[in-house]
Amino acid sequence: MVELIVDGHRMTVPPGQQLLAACLAEGIYIPHLCHLEEAPRPAAACRLCFVEIAGVPAPQPACTIRVASALKVRTDTPAVRRLQRMALRLLLSAHHIDCRRCHANRACALQSIARFLKVGLHPKPLMAIARPDEVDRHHPFIDHYPRRCVLCGRCVRTCRNGNDHPQFSFTGRGIDTVVRHYASNLALDKRCSECRRCVAACPVGALQWRREGAGASESVD
């Protein structure tokens, strides 16, 4: 076992344990969106889970650290908070905020992270990227809201891990990057109707199971 000291709390973890998972298991919250416990390698894409490790000059994403030897970690230094707040502001600036009409309202990771980091949901005017809300209906049963998507990739990876072929994948570059469902495949579509894991994996309101004939803004519970 390896000893960890996180924000003064002492804990022991098996060697090789992921630092973020270890902290979350101990009830020490670190903001995160792209973390996927069962994934063999971290995506390290959302850039929210920064921590400072004694002896390491710059903040590191906790999901990328495998604990090999004793570590002293702080989760709340000014450098950490600065990066986390900027990462969140950036995500929000590209996000279509309309929580009242969103099925994820009150269960949304963006909302809780914003509360935790004390960042308002509406970023400063200089930062907002104006893009109209959209619904992408490429998937036979699942609606995708690209303007709510934080591109954490959890749906893509959940599906890739659970099924041999991911139904969703990334496309585009830069600010135009989106998650998209490509050409339907009957066998896989059938599996989707039983699986639905990607919808559950989405930390925000970007994926929604579509009821036959349901309108875009109606929610399905």
């Binding site: 390290a44 959302c46 950036l90 990334f170 600010i175």
Partner: protein
């Protein structure tokens, strides 16, 4: 595999002797040798037409001449270049510049048939002589130090015999007589650092990969070369592919690789076909495949054509792309040397890095350390473009100053204009001002200045350039090329770009410069891969070294470099404009130039799109067109009713 009785060195000596024999025969059959530079740069300048014109003349006139092609000699400003070796004329081999088909006919008539070398078209002689200056006496030739490019433009890239006869593959033969560990030790002792941008010690990378216990190891040559304006890797491959192959074989042997691949962008068709020919020749000569040079070592080299995305040059993205996934970077560690292609230890090196390996093995670590600086031994290759007299590819020792490179080697800035900035390292690099002219350039000094060696792009800019616009240009590129994986890079660069665009339009809000600074710092610290970590460098360096440019745009809507079109105005100085001249009228794409009541010319401010064509058209003795910023400084000249704008006429 069974090794034959002869040693690799003996096998190579036999190959070389045969190649030399072939080269001699080729030369004696043809008393005149005509060499045309036909890399992509030469072709773009019309080299194919030049070659065809010579070919036709040789065929129709029965000239005893042989037409050879070589790659790029680095003197891209002089393309198409031709070297004529005509010993019977009494002249040494001569270097001709800008040879178009018309010049070809003249050279055939006067020199090849008539013995007059047309000296006014000669740049210089290829060797020292009593008759005329040698090219090596010119700064642009003589001040360079060529290790990697030594054979570029000198040998035929399509001929393995030319490479062998010139000593090629000799380093491989001697390497195969050493143990892999000895080679790694020699590369480490030489202090070779990776030329792909970051300058990571090559020996260390090789040692790490070789020390992994694994059944399979890979070697990948990174020829993605995605920087806008960088083309040295392409040139090296097009001009001397065998040196890269030789370097890859030595590297593969040293790290114990069983698979070797070249990742090259599909947009480089000539480089790809040059490599294919070279690989086939190497295979025929027993230099590729099983039992190379009769040794126990064998390997194949495959070509992998990538889509040419900039981010695919990043090593983890490159690996993902070769594995058949979307080319997005992954977190490191694990580094590819530990876990790379299909999770096997993988050494990834740049084209230049691998091409330096054969000379190091042949001449030794001390020789290499004797060039360049203590921390960055060897040479650097820059593609120098922009406001310089002699642009092109330049190989110089590490540690020379920018001043030496720009003013001595590349002939300085044309038109007596002043130096303003040098942008080094492309989208990951930075803009340096004149205080850096005397800084020796190597990996570490550039990093300290906030720039980086990157791919070796060097854009020289005179006083009429705008650093805000330069930053905007690079951010536009990086934003388009961001893989979109992480928030800082995907969204952060978009905001940087928006802010820079607002500045260049004079529409930025208070606090814009602070936002640029903070956001840039956070993108550097927060991004996942090297693309995002370095993307703000053009902004950070220009903010640091050209703060006045930014303040002028923000506070006065003024562009000091007279570049940002929304912030400038063209007008015609009525004192200077010549009555009756209408040189500028026809060139204006929007018919903004009108005739004043005094029969001079004026510019309709409402129509003018600030393209600058009229400046170029105005005869130098009048030089009447002026540019000012902010636009309000331009005097308003009323358009007389008698000369209404065209569209009004039509309507």
């Amino acid at each position: 595999m069974s090794a034959s009785e002869t040693s690799p060195l003996e096998a190579w000596t036999a190959l070389q002797a045969e190649a030399q024999q072939r080269e001699r025969q080729r030369a004696t059959g043809h008393p005149i040798q005509i060499t045309v530079g036909l890399a992509s740069c030469g072709i773009a300048a019309g080299g194919m037409e030049t070659q065809a014109a010579f070919a036709e003349a040789i065929a129709t006139q029965g000239l005893p001449a042989e037409l050879r092609t070589v790659g790029c000699c680095g003197h891209c400003y002089a393309e198409p270049v031709v070297i004529i070796d005509h010993p019977q004329s009494g002249f040494p081999a001569l270097f001709y510049h800008e040879v178009n088909p018309g010049k070809v006919h003249m050279l055939v008539r006067n020199f090849l048939l008539g013995g007059d070398p047309c000296l006014e078209h000669v740049m210089g002689a290829m060797e020292a002589n009593d008759l005329l200056p040698a090219v090596n006496d010119f700064a642009r030739f003589g001040l360079e130090k060529r290790i990697v490019m030594e054979r570029c433009g000198r040998i035929d890239p399509a001929s393995i015999a030319a490479y062998l006869a010139d000593g090629g593959y000799g380093a491989l033969a001697s390497a195969l007589a050493l143990s892999p560990a000895e080679i790694v030790a020699r590369i480490t002792a030489a202090g070779l650092r990776g030329r792909g941008g970051a300058g990571y010690p090559t020996g260390e990378k090789w040692r790490l990969a070789a020390s992994q216990s694994a059944t399979e190891r890979h070697l990948i040559c990174n020829a993605d070369e995605g920087d806008p304006g960088a083309y040295m890797d392409r040139t090296l491959i097009e001009s001397n592919p065998h040196q890269l192959i030789e370097g890859m074989l030595i590297a593969a042997y040293a790290v114990g690789a069983s698979r070797a691949k070249i990742y090259i962008r599909a947009e480089y068709p000539l480089a790809v076909s040059t490599l294919e020919v070279a690989l086939a020749q190497a295979r025929q000569h027993g230099l590729l495949g099983d039992a190379i040079l009769g040794s126990h070592f064998g390997i194949e080299i495959e070509i992998f054509q990538g889509s040419g995305a900039f981010v695919c040059g990043e090593e983890t993205a490159l690996i993902r792309s070769m594995e058949g996934f979307r080319g997005t970077p992954r977190h490191r560690p694990p580094y590819p040397s530990v876990s790379g292609l299909f999770d096997a230890p993988t050494v990834i090196n740049n084209v230049k890095t691998l091409s330096i390996v054969p000379p190091i093995i042949a001449k030794g670590a001390d020789w290499f350390r004797g060039i360049g600086t203590a921390e960055s031994p060897g040479t650097a290759i820059f593609s120098v473009v922009g406001d310089v007299t002699h642009p092109g590819l330049v190989e110089i020792p590490m540690g020379v100053t920018l001043r030496h490179l720009i003013f001595d080697v590349c002939g300085g800035i044309p038109d007596q204009k002043h130096f303003k900035a040098a942008q080094i390292g492309g989208p990951s690099g930075g803009c340096l001002n004149e205080t850096f002219l005397d800084t020796p350039i190597d990996f570490d000094t550039l990093a300290e200045a906030g720039a980086m060696m990157g791919s070796g792009g060097l854009v020289v800019m005179n006083a009429e350039s705008c650093m805000v616009d330069v930053a905007r240009f690079f951010l536009e590129f990086t934003q388009k090329e961001s893989c979109g994986k992480c928030a800082f890079c995907r969204i952060g660069t978009h905001h940087l770009l928006t802010c820079l665009e607002a500045l260049t339009k004079g529409k930025a809000e208070a606090g814009a410069l602070e936002l640029l600074q903070t956001l840039s710092e956070d993108i550097c610290n927060g991004s996942l891969c090297g693309l995002g970590k370095t993307a703000p460098n053009p902004v950070l360096t220009s903010l640091r070294h050209f703060a006045e440019d930014y303040r002028a745009h923000l506070e006065q809507q003024r562009c000091p470099g007279l570049t940002c079109r929304p912030l400038i105005a063209h007008y015609i100085d009525l004192e200077k404009c010549a009555r009756g001249c209408d040189a500028c009228v026809g060139v204006c794409p929007v018919a903004a130039v009108f005739t004043t009541s005094t029969r001079k010319k004026g510019i309709d401010i409402d129509l003018c799109i600030q393209c600058g064509e009229c400046i170029a058209a105005c005869p130098p003795q009048y030089d009447a067109v002026r540019v000012v910023s902010p636009p309000a400084l331009a005097p308003r000249v009323e358009r007389p009713q008698t000369d209404p704008p065209k569209n009004a006429e039509e309507g």
